[in-house]
């Protein structure tokens, strides 16, 4: 939303703040007037009405300023809260692709740095600007009231000021955009150095990291300098004009007092008001950068809030059996230089419910994408996918996912309790049985027993206190806790030893007999008896069938099988 819309949303607060601004400004404007009157009337006694008025004004100003601080503070934080909540709502509804493709650090920057900049508009910019403008207008009115001719001379500097400011702010806007982008790069840099910390130490690559960081840091310094240079000009301009104003007043005003056309008291008041006239101009110079920067950030935030989300068109929410069919499915990405990258080409197969299926094939992207397609996380470029003979597009994806358990290739754990990592819930609930079943099946019971706080033990960020195999088993438990109809395992047993592997696969068969299992795997031995094996190579299916069939018909399959251990030696 634009700044105008932002203000409209908070119109009551804004009006209240303006009202307070009026009051506190009005109050402070009265003070010189009263002092002037006191000097002119020669009213020297301490208990005169003038003094009483001054005391009342002082006290009221105090109260008003306190309230004003609270309201401006509240307003800016509320705006930040609401903007952030809007961002949160938007992000959590976004597609997996959007998040994947957003530049590292971009969202982090938007939530922190850009929000701070918008807040600054309100605290430093908006409210201060408003009081400054009010003070300016008030001071001008009082000046005109005190001595018309002198006032007009004094006010003549304003148009010059406007021109100068306009020029400076115009040229600096671009620099703020650059600042935000630089912050994004810094975030990305820091993130990489943290996630890669073990490797960096093994390779003694600290100097490389420092080198990379130096680039973005130098850039930050350069942009910062440019902004400093731009705004450094503001000060001399303001001071120059302010001093010109003062000199005008003293010369012309002084002459008028000498001629007798102005009283000394009025002259004193005029001097005070001119100080009040000058202060807001300084403020404009001080505050201008904040507003300029905040508007740039607001635009960035709006881009995220306004981003398109493909609406969910599907409505079917029922249970599923687990039949999966792919008809001529292709997945084509656009690479950075604009060319096409075909990840999957013309894939067709049928998986029957409640059967065990495996997908084998060489190392390359493509197999995992099959799983993302099956669960509706991404959409195919060509072709159609059916579940239970119904097109995937007819399903309400959020409902469908409740029946699919997907275990990713790499371990993804959260810095919450074990329970939350498995079941996403922190309170004990009616599904306790399912939770236990999942833990048992994944052979985690022993591990959970040994944890200091049982299931409530916290898993450290990125799961660094667990071994590779333990993380994988935790991910499996997570998938099973859903009580899935379809279980998708992406290279699950890669990190798990043979014993545990056969135990787990046995458990799955026993505890989840109705499940449709699809397993991407490198090892043929454990899947030999599966109902169907699909061989995928460079994005294309080169064979489907049982183990025996493929041994006969597929050269590549034979090659894979023969490169692995023969059964006899293992059994001995």
């Amino acid at each position: 939303m634009t700044f105008g819309q932002l203000l409209k949303t908070y119109k009551w607060w804004t009006l209240f703040t303006i009202l307070l601004g009026f009051s506190s400004t009005g109050l402070s404007l009265l003070v010189p007037k009263l002092a002037a009157r006191a000097i002119d009337t020669g009213d020297f006694s301490s208990w005169s009405p003038t003094f009483t008025t001054l005391i009342i004004i002082g006290a009221s100003a105090f109260v008003v300023v306190i309230i004003q601080i609270f309201t401006s503070n509240y307003l800016s934080e509320k705006v930040a809260l609401d903007l952030r909540n809007q961002l949160i709502k938007k992000i959590s509804r976004q597609s997996f692709q959007y998040i994947d493709e957003s530049t590292p650090g971009q969202l982090q920057t938007i939530f922190t740095s850009d929000i701070e900049a918008v807040k600054a508009i309100i605290v430093q910019g908006f409210v201060t600007l408003l009081s400054a403008l009010l003070t300016l207008i008030g001071a001008i009115i009082f000046l005109l009231n005190t001595n018309l001719r002198l006032a007009l001379y004094t006010i003549s500097i304003i148009p010059l000021l406007a021109v100068a400011f306009g020029l400076i702010f115009g040229s600096i806007g671009k620099l703020f955009q650059a600042t935000q982008e630089n912050i994004q790069s810094i975030y990305a840099n820091i993130n990489e150095t943290i996630t890669g910390s073990a490797l960096i130490r093994i390779l003694h690559g600290g100097y490389e990291e420092v080198k990379k960081f130096k680039v973005v840091n130098e850039n930050a310094k350069k942009i910062g300098f440019s902004i400093v240079k731009g705004f450094a000009l503001l000060v001399p301009i303001v001071v120059l004009l302010a001093n010109v104003a003062t000199l005008i007043i003293i010369w012309f005003g002084g002459k008028q007092v000498i001629n007798g056309t102005m009283t000394l008291g009025d002259f004193s008041a005029f001097l005070s008001y001119s100080a009040m006239f000058i202060w807001p101009i300084f403020v404009l110079g001080f505050v201008g950068p904040s507003i300029s920067r905040g508007l740039v950030s607001l635009k960035r935030i709006n881009n995220v809030i306004a981003a398109n989300i493909k609406e969910e068109s599907g409505t079917y929410e029922g249970d599923i059996q687990g039949d999966i069919e792919f008809k001529n499915v292709s997945l084509i990405y656009k690479t950075e230089n604009g060319s096409d990258k075909t990840v999957l080409k013309n894939i067709s197969f049928k998986i029957h419910a409640k059967t065990k299926n495996a997908i084998v094939g060489p190392t390359a992207a493509g197999k995992s994408q099959l799983f993302y397609l099956m669960s509706g996380l991404i959409v195919p470029t060509e072709g159609e996918i059916f579940i239970d003979n119904r097109p995937l597009s007819e399903y309400k994806i959020s409902s469908l996912l409740k029946h699919i358990g997907l275990v990713f290739q790499d371990s993804i754990l959260f810095n919450t309790s074990f329970r939350e990592n498995i079941a996403f819930t922190s309170e004990s609930e009616k599904n306790r049985d399912i939770l236990n079943k999942a833990i048992e099946t994944a052979e985690l019971t022993q591990l959970v027993k040994e944890l200091p706080d049982g299931l409530e033990t916290m898993v450290s960020e990125r799961g660094t206190s667990l071994s590779g195999g333990q993380k994988q088993r935790l991910m499996l438990a997570r998938a099973l806790a859903v009580n899935p109809q379809i279980l998708l395992l992406d290279d699950f047993t890669a990190r798990v030893d043979q014993n545990t592997e056969s135990l787990i696969l046995g458990n799955v068969s026993k505890n989840f007999p109705e499940v449709t299992l699809v397993s991407i795997t490198q090892k043929i031995e454990p899947i030999k008896n599966y109902e169907q094996i699909i061989v995928l190579m460079e994005g294309e299916i080169i064979g489907t069938g049982t183990h025996q069939q493929l041994l006969k018909e597929s050269f590549e399959y034979r090659q894979i099988f023969e490169s692995q251990m023969s059964t006899d030696t293992i059994k001995s």
């Binding site: 390359a364 052979e443 960020e461």
Partner: protein, 591 residues
């Protein structure tokens, strides 16, 4: 080794009443480099403030000497002087802004550089004990608070101090009695400042923490978004983040209010002071102790004394905030790496003929549960060893100790006959390389990743690199990437499968020709055909290379010279391959 690197457990330093002294000591070392600039800036600020303060004094003279007696010529003179003073104000103001701006940008640069360098000096344990989002927040946001203070407030703050000094001097000179009355309110200001500062600083600290907390939660969920999407847990994510957001809101309200609480109070005292000045001033005029001109000047001086006080009040809030931020930075900067390297007292009595030897090595992450107990292992040059065992048994931990990512809790690790702690990290990195279970890649090209931190291959062209790698047997591997070595990689290899990432790790490690290569489940995610290709490349390593292979797959280890069995803290040699198989199939996994 308990969680000594965890930033969570840190307690901040004892806070003195003004809240500033305790932690500013170290901060000034960051400014030292710009000492000369700072001095010039101070000079300009001083000149600027003096010029600012002289004006009312001159105005007062103008009124008394010339305006009230009708001396136009004298008025003209004083106007010229005022114009001169104004020029000085302008010139010094500009110079001051430029200098302060430069100084604050450079200081910010050094702060960030220092923090980042500190991160590089800390061991793996530090990163395991802290959250990515929290560190990001400290390096990016907390430093910015300090920058804001420097760039916006230092000039103002110092200028105000000088102005105040100037006002005090001139006003004392003009009429010392009236001057004392004017300044009398300062006592009260000082008292309330003293009273409230600690609380303000605490609120600021809490606010910075809440923000850090939010960043951490956001970062984690963005990184793990796949799971959030696949498990349809978007509501969970939304609620989780909204809760953190509300926490930042609440703490921001409190700290924001706290930071500005002085303004109205200072203003109030200013008003009282004006009243006092006026009443006492009138009294003096009535007894002939002061002129009207003097009173008028004092009205201006009072304003010029207490308005800056208001600025000080606001600046003070910024000081508290910057100070709280600085404490958080210090929490990181004050950490020292506990990992022993370049240890002069290291034992050199190991067997030099052995590549690596573990003597009575025990290890625990938390000083409570031993993960490895009393391991005694020898690894000879040129041999291939296999470490097998059930998941969770301690194999990767052992690998971390062998690569000196952690010091053993008990016992010694000898590298080429010397305690491994004697070597520097650089020396160790040249001798030992590890292919990790979870491959790590950096943004850049495949080539850049392969050459990362490789000091033997600087400035090599893509073609040359291709040739070298093909020579080592990686031709078919390179083909797996759409643009070969020039393929660009996004953040940690998004879009590549683990297997593909692992291929790059292989090339990277083998190019270094380490004397000891540890493979931690390196081929777990790679198909067996490709694995065979990679094994061949291992054979291309120099014959004296020692290889330690951690694996589950039997055919991965079948060519090992010696097999060791790791399970639940104990390492047992398994002798022959057949024996190993028996141990594996019989073994009960411990967790």
């Amino acid at each position: 080794m308990t969680k000594i690197y965890s930033l969570d457990k840190k307690e901040s330093n004892v806070i003195t009443p003004l809240g500033v002294k305790a932690s500013t000591g170290d901060f000034f070392s960051y400014l030292k480099e710009d000492k000369s600039k700072l001095i010039f800036a101070f000079i300009f600020i001083f000149m600027n403030s003096t010029a600012n303060t002289v004006s009312p004094f001159l105005v007062s003279k103008a009124i008394d000497r010339y305006i009230s007696v009708g001396n136009v010529d004298g008025l003209l003179n004083i106007i010229l002087i005022l114009a001169g003073v104004a020029t000085i104000t302008i010139a010094t103001g500009y110079a001051q802004s430029m200098l302060i701006g430069r100084i604050s940008q450079r200081t910010l640069y050094r702060l960030k550089e220092g923090l980042f360098a500190k991160l590089q000096s800390l061991p793996t344990a530090f990163f395991n004990q802290n959250k990515a989002g929290d560190l990001m927040s400290r390096i990016n946001n907390d430093t910015d608070k300090i920058n804001q203070f420097l760039s916006q407030w230092i000039g103002q703050f110092i200028g105000v101090m000088f102005s105040l000094f100037g006002v005090v001097c001139f006003s004392l000179y003009l009429n010392w009695k009236l001057s004392l009355v004017m300044m009398s309110m300062v006592i009260f200001i000082y008292i309330i400042t003293l009273l409230f500062s600690p609380k303000i600083r605490k609120e600021n600290k809490k606010n910075l923490e809440a923000n850090s907390d939010f960043s951490a939660a956001l970062q984690e969920n963005l990184t793990n978004f796949r799971v959030v999407a696949a498990y349809s847990k978007r509501d969970y994510l939304e609620n989780h983040l909204e809760k953190k957001n509300n926490a930042t809101f609440k703490s921001a309200l409190r700290s924001g209010f706290a930071n500005r609480i002085f303004e109205p109070s200072y203003e109030f005292f200013g008003a009282i002071a004006l009243i006092l000045v006026l009443s006492y001033g009138f009294h003096l005029i009535s007894i002939g102790g002061a002129t009207v001109g003097v009173l008028i000047a004092f009205v201006a001086y009072t304003q010029r004394f207490y308005d800056p006080m208001k600025t000080l009040a606001t600046a003070f809030g910024a000081i508290q905030l910057a100070s709280a931020a600085w404490v958080r930075l210090q929490e990181v900067l004050s950490l020292e790496n506990n990992l022993k390297t370049e240890n002069q007292k290291g034992d050199e009595s190991g067997k030099p003929k052995l590549r690596l030897e573990l003597k009575n090595v025990s290890f625990s992450y938390d000083d409570k549960n031993m993960v490895i107990e009393n391991a005694n292992l020898s690894f000879e040059p040129g041999k291939t060893y296999a470490l097998v065992g059930p998941t969770g048994g301690g194999k990767s931990t052992l690998a971390s100790i062998m690569a000196h990512l952690y010091d053993p809790t008990l016992g010694v690790v000898y590298l080429n006959g010397k305690d491994i702690t004697i070597y520097s990290q650089e020396e160790t990195s040249k001798e030992i390389s590890v292919i990790l279970q979870d491959p790590i890649l950096f943004t850049g090209t495949v080539a850049e990743n392969i050459l990362y931190a490789n000091t033997d291959f600087t400035n090599v062209s893509i073609d040359d690199l291709n040739r070298v790698l093909e020579h080592k047997g990686f031709k078919d591997v390179i083909k797996r990437f759409e643009n070969g070595l020039s393929t660009t990689i996004k953040q940690n290899g998004a879009g590549l499968s683990i297997g593909q990432k692992q291929l790059i790790s292989f090339m990277r490690a083998i190019l270094r020709e380490p004397k000891l290569l540890i493979l931690d489940e390196a081929t777990a995610n790679i198909d067996t055909v490709t694995e065979a290709i990679l094994n061949k490349t291992l054979e291309a390593l120099p014959p004296e290379t020692t290889k330690i292979i951690i694996a589950h797959r039997l055919n991965t280890i079948k060519d090992a010279d010696e097999i060791m069995f790791v399970n639940g803290r104990h390492v047992t040699p398994a002798g022959s391959y057949e024996q190993a198989i028996r141990m594996i199939t019989d073994a009960k996994r411990n967790s």
